[in-house]
Subunit: 242 residues, 2 copies
DNA sequence: CGTTGTGTTGACAAGAGTCAATGGCAGTGG
DNA sequence: CCACTGCCATTGACTCTTGTCAACACAACG
C-alpha cells in the first residue's frame, strides 16, 4: 500500500478493499524460484521482506536480471493477463512473500475501475524501468550503468522507507550485480573499485552509501522521472545537500 | 483490431465500440517527432501505415531505440496512465498515424472492463518485448542480437499480415538498426555482412528475406512465446519448411 | 554537377570477457 | 581448537569483441 500510495492516489476505501485480499505468506531461501519461466501463474507475489528478482537464462548460460524488487513491489502483476511467464521470479535473498490468488484480484478489480487503473499504472512504471535499464545497458559504459543502478535503487528504497540517511541495504553479491548490468563479475568488481576510488559510492557488507548524491546522479546520467513517484519529499531529499 | 484480435479474444461488440472512437489521421515525414520526451500526452497514437519507433537519447549523444512499431500497434498506450513521456515517439519512415484522444479511450474503457483488460494486456506484451530486447542487448553478442531482432520483426509482421512468403518490409537504415541493437553503425554493417555470408538473411532495398527460418531462429536464440500471439497459424508457418 | 544520405572498408584503440590463481571469511564438523 | 569447505572478492595476464576515426564508393536528387 505504501508503494501504491507513492505512485498514485489511494483512497481509504481502496485500502479497505486491499486489506480484504486473501494472502498466503511464504518464507523463501536465497535462490529459490518463486515462479519458473514458462509456467502459468495462478497467483501474484507481493514482496514483504527481502529482495526478489526477475531473470532469464540464455542457452549460452549467460543470465540477465531484468529487475530487482523491494518490499512492497508486486513483481509478477503482469501474470494476471499473460498466460505464461516469459522469465523466472527468484528470491535474491532469504525473503518473505505473500501470494494473492489471481481470482481474488480479478474480483476486486471488477468492482473498482480506479484500482484497476492504479495496478495498470504500476505495470507501466515497471515497463518504464525496463526502458531505463535497456538504455543504460545498450548505450552507457559499465561505470555509468552501475552508478545509474545505485541511483535507481536508492530512490526506490527511499520511496518505501528503507533508506537510512544516504544509505540503503543491498544484500547482493557481485555476480548478481554483474548480471543486472549485463557485464561479467570480474568487470563488475573492477568497476566497483573505480566508483569507490572516485568517492561516488561505498558498498560493503550489503549496504550502499552515497557520499554525494549530486555527483553520483550526474555520473550515472540519472533522472528519476521514469519512476514517476508522487512524493515531493523525494525531490526535497535529493537536493538537501546542495 | 487485427492486432488486438491476434493477442486476445475480440467480440463483435468490442469491434463496434472501437469503430466509434474518434480518430484524427496525420501524415508524418521521416524523423518527425510524434510525442517528445518529457511532455504529457493527450491522445494515443495508432500506427496505420509506415514505421514508428520509441527512442531516448543519452546526454553523451548515444541513442537507444526501444521498440519498432508496425501498423496496428499503439506505441504510446501507456501515456494513458503516465503523466509524462519518458522517451520520444518518432516516425521511422514517412507514415500515417491516427490520434485518439485519451478522454475517448477512457470513456469506452469505463464501459467495458474486458476491453480494459485487453489493452492492459497489450501494454504487458509490450513490456515482455522490452525484456526480450534487454536480454539480448545485455547477454548476447551482436550477430545473435541481430538475428533475434529479425526473427521478432518477421513474426510481428506476419501477425498483422505484412509478410510476403519469407520476406517482410523493413525500410530502415543501418544507423537505426545499430541503435536498436545497442551497437555502432560500423559494427552493425559488419555483422550484417556476416549474417549474409552465413546465408541467414538477405537485407536489401528495405526488405528482409529469411532463407531458412529454423537456422535463423536457432542462431538468434529466438523463442516467439514472449510475443504471446494467439495465432496457431503462426506455428504452422514457422514449421512449414521443416 | 555538387550535395546528401547511405553503405562499405581499413587501421587502430579501448572496453570488456575469460581464465586462473589468491586470499579472506564464515560455517561446519571432528 | 583446528582443519576443511564453500562462497565471495580481488588480481594479473591475455584475448577478443567492439567502438572510433577516417576515407571512399555509390545512388538519389535538386
Amino acid at each position: 500500500m505504501r508503494r501504491l500510495g507513492a505512485i498514485g492516489h489511494l483512497t481509504d476505501q481502496h485500502r479497505e478493499v486491499l486489506k480484504q485480499l486473501p494472502i498466503r505468506m511464504v518464507q523463501l531461501t536465497k535462490g529459490q524460484e518463486i515462479v519458473p519461466e514458462g509456467k502459468p501463474a495462478a497467483s501474484c507475489c507481493l514482496v514483504v521482506d527481502g529482495l526478489v528478482h526477475r531473470t532469464k537464462v540464455l542457452s549460452s548460460g549467460r543470465r540477465q536480471i531484468f529487475s530487482l524488487h523491494l518490499p512492497g513491489d508486486m513483481p509478477d502483476l503482469h501474470s494476471l493477463h499473460l498466460p505464461s511467464m516469459d522469465h523466472s521470479l527468484v528470491a535474491t535473498t532469504p525473503c518473505e512473500v505473500g501470494l494473492i490468488p489471481h481470482d481474488a484480484i480479478r474480483e476486486i478489480l471488477r468492482a473498482s475501475p480506479s484500482l484497476t487503473d492504479l495496478l495498470w499504472r504500476d505495470t507501466l512504471i515497471d515497463a518504464a524501468a525496463f526502458r531505463a535499464w535497456m538504455l543504460m545497458i545498450g548505450q552507457a559504459e559499465v561505470p555509468t550503468r552501475m552508478a545509474h543502478l545505485f541511483c535507481e535503487l536508492f530512490v526506490r528504497s527511499f520511496i518505501v522507507g528503507l533508506t537510512e540517511g544516504w544509505s540503503f541495504p543491498l544484500p547482493v553479491n557481485q555476480v548478481d550485480l554483474a548480471d543486472m548490468l549485463g557485464t561479467s563479475a570480474v568487470h563488475a568488481n573492477r568497476t566497483l573499485q573505480e566508483l569507490r576510488v572516485r568517492n561516488l559510492i561505498k558498498f560493503e557488507s550489503g549496504w550502499v552509501t552515497i557520499p554525494e548524491w549530486q555527483a553520483l546522479a550526474e555520473f550515472g546520467l540519472f533522472d528519476s522521472s521514469y519512476l514517476h513517484p508522487m512524493t515531493d519529499r523525494l525531490e526535497l531529499t535529493l537536493h538537501s545537500t546542495l
